[in-house]
């Protein structure tokens, strides 16, 4: 049933994207003819509707991989000459691969560190935000739905300072709920991951070093979890342990938590409101985030009453100067698709589209790509 629905969505998007590409071709033809006509009197060749022909290799963040795979399928169905291989492997691998010039673009959940910029052989790198998604705090406690947790409580739970579900701190935030005397099992990622990075960043920003130092583990793709916690491989691994362990709590991305049918907690945001994880909450967080000129931003702990506080952002990064014309054109068309019609595809696989404002900025950034 699920696949049927997906197929239908896919088919409708394919038809949409064909229209979109046809339109975009008209536009490029227009913009290229005008300056040519004005500057030189060389014969102006109006471009025939261009057939994109290229193979793009890519790697990087696994967090948006499901969405990229959907987008790639829809895009390549409409552009049969283009093949895109998005290999995953993690944000760090994606950035390294782009730096080494072995991929055409990379997916990353984090920005490039200043110290690493010199290592990028192809020069300046452009950021294109693609989608956002909530990271859920999922738990397994039969009979207790809609649990509410503040960052302070989450920090204490994940640092094993709160070890029972009927702890006074949890009860205070959930008046009227009968909490069982079950022991809490904390579940985290066994592999280093951008999801861990974003989850710990949320705790660092809300109750970390500069905010009362309740969270002391810092923020990184791996942190030093207490020894009596459990770990799962990937989001699916964490979801599996949470699902199979009574009293477990862990951080899982929204799509795996939804697929696994996990219970998800509402989290207190920067405005003091408890917000359950949802795509709308994620979009609201992205809209409330401060966006830098190069389109880097953080949607974690963003302002706004409706903002879900653990919202992860992700980018596609590529070199500003594309030396291979065929690949450059294909990349540009693909990014354009992702930022326009591809956005409507996002909710079908549990990702939230960018706010209209951010998508427009990203589209403008696309014009900075130099091809050939």
């Amino acid at each position: 049933m699920n696949t049927n629905k997906r197929r239908f969505v896919l088919a409708s998007l394919v038809s949409l994207s064909i229209v979109a590409v046809a339109c975009s071709d008209d536009k490029t033809a227009e913009t290229t003819t005008t300056p040519a006509a004005s500057s030189t009197d060389a014969p102006v060749v109006t471009e025939a509707p261009m057939k994109l022909e290229a193979t793009l290799d890519a790697s990087g963040a696994t967090f948006p991989k499901t969405y990229y795979e959907e987008a790639i399928a829809a895009f390549t169905d409409a552009n049969s000459g283009v093949t895109i291989n998005y290999a995953g492997g993690g944000s760090g691998k994606g950035r390294q691969d782009l730096a080494d010039g072995i991929v055409a673009f990379a997916g990353t959940d984090g920005t490039i560190k200043d110290a690493d910029i010199a290592g990028y052989k192809g020069g300046e790198v452009l950021y294109f935000p693609t989608v956002v998604a909530p990271i859920t705090v999922s738990y397994n406690l039969s009979g207790v739905d809609g649990l509410q947790l503040s960052p302070t409580t989450i920090a204490k739970i994940f640092q094993r300072q709160i070890t029972k579900w009927n702890d006074a701190a949890i009860a205070a935030e959930n008046s009227g709920v009968t909490l069982p005397d079950t022991a809490i099992t904390v579940v985290h990622r066994s592999d280093s991951s951008g999801t861990t990075g974003n989850f710990t960043k949320f705790l660092e920003k809300s109750v970390g070093k500069d905010k009362g130092a309740i969270w002391t583990l810092g923020t990184d793709s791996t942190v030093q979890w207490a020894a009596d916690t459990q770990a799962g491989e990937g989001n699916a691994g964490v979801a599996q342990i949470v699902k199979s362990t009574d009293g477990a709590i862990g951080y899982v991305d929204f799509s795996d938590a939804t697929d696994g049918g996990l219970q998800m907690a509402a989290i207190e945001n920067a405005a003091g409101k408890f917000v359950a994880p949802s795509l709308e909450g994620a979009s609201a967080a992205a809209a409330g985030a401060k966006i830098a000129d190069n389109l880097t931003y953080s949607a974690i702990w963003a302002d706004g009453d409706a903002a879900y506080p653990i919202t992860a952002q992700t980018w596609i990064i590529a070199y500003k100067v594309q030396t291979d014309a065929a690949k450059g054109e294909a990349l540009k068309a693909f990014l354009k698709f992702i930022l326009t019609d591809g956005q409507t595809l996002a909710p079908t696989v549990n990702y939230a589209p960018l706010s209209a404002d951010l998508a427009a900025k990203a589209l403008a950034q696309l014009d900075m790509l130099q091809i050939g």
Binding site: G92, K113, V223, Q224
Partner: protein, 325 residues
């Protein structure tokens, strides 16, 4: 007549020598090249790894080996708990696998009827070609979920018993040292069985018959004739199994529990091992962490080489002894 004959032989000899000589040379140089290439690759791997791990050595100093704190946000990398996890899981695997493997090998060679021998050998060799990720997935999806009850029973049974009470300790977890040990045991059993089988089969028939003729039972014959003869080879087989267990990566990464800093006797607690940490943390590692992971790989490399060198030495010595050289 005789002179003609001798000339013929001389010609023949010369011909043989000429062609044989060049073939010999070609063969010799190919063999040297192949052998040299192995050493060259090994040398280059070692050089690259040592070279790329220098940052971590100089950043951490001796703490790298003596600390159990692995804290990436603070850029502090100590591998002691991972070394412990590697050795401990390998020991658990051996404790399970060695008696089992020797039993199987003795059964196949001494007890089983011929048709069963062939079937069993075939099935066990088949076990050796199952990819480790298959064992890992089975471990994480089936074994670690269903074995919890058994762990709880063991834990409560041995509660309060000295030594055993801390080995089969409290709060058992599905993903733990012991689960990793079981998976490793399954993986190294075929290796130990097939090597032991071959060693045991080299026991001279007349020694076994002599033992039986003296009125020994089958077990006495095995103990008196077979085991002393093949002791060295069996130790070598076990050591090779140990080397394999220490280097196993993905299957262990999935079931060991991935807890940092754990050093303790409790086999039902989660921990981590060196290869598992390397594969789990490589993807998002920054420069210094990569260096630390490579330094850990160097450590593992040295440990497995030591185990293999010891294994080879033991096997060679026992071979010499049995040949009577």
């Amino acid at each position: 007549m005789s002179s003609a004959n001798s000339t013929d032989i001389a010609t023949l000899e010369r011909g043989l020598h000429a062609s044989g000589g060049s073939a010999d040379r070609a063969f010799r140089s190919t063999a040297y090249l192949a052998g040299g290439l192995v050493l060259l690759v090994l040398g280059l791997v070692t050089y690259t790894m040592v070279n790329r791990s220098t940052d971590a050595w100089s950043h951490m100093g001796l703490d790298f080996f003596t600390s159990r704190t692995w804290n990436p946000p603070e850029q502090f990398y100590g591998i002691l708990s991972y070394v412990f996890g590697t050795v401990y899981t390998a020991c658990i695997a051996l404790a399970i696998s060695v008696p089992l493997s020797l039993g199987i090998a003795l059964f196949i060679t001494q007890v089983a009827p011929r048709w069963l021998q062939r079937t069993m050998t075939y099935v066990i060799d088949l076990l050796a070609v199952v990819p480790s990720v298959v064992f890992g997935l089975w471990g994480v999806l089936v074994l670690s979920v269903h074995i919890k009850g058994f762990y709880k029973w063991m834990s409560s049974t041995f509660d309060g018993v000295p030594v055993l009470g801390s080995v089969f300790g409290p709060n058992p977890q599905g993903r733990s040292f012991f689960t990793a040990g079981i998976i490793l045991a399954v993986m190294i059993t075929p290796i130990i069985v097939s090597l032991s089988r071959e060693v045991i089969q080299t026991t001279p028939q007349n020694e076994k018959e002599a033992a039986l003729a003296l009125g020994a039972t089958r077990w006495e014959m095995i103990r008196g004739a077979v085991l002393p003869h093949s002791k060295g080879g069996l130790v070598g087989a076990v050591m090779l199994g140990l080397g394999r267990a220490m280097g196993e990566t993905i299957a262990v990464a999935l079931v060991i529990g991935s807890a940092t800093g754990r050093i303790g006797l409790n086999v039902f607690a989660g921990g981590n091992s060196m290869p598992a940490v390397i594969t789990a943390e490589w993807g998002e590692a920054d420069a210094l962490k990569k260096s630390a992971l490579i330094a850990m790989a160097v450590t593992l490399f040295v440990m497995t080489i030591l185990v293999n060198v010891i294994a080879t030495t033991v096997v060679n010595r026992s071979m010499k002894k049995t040949r009577g050289v």
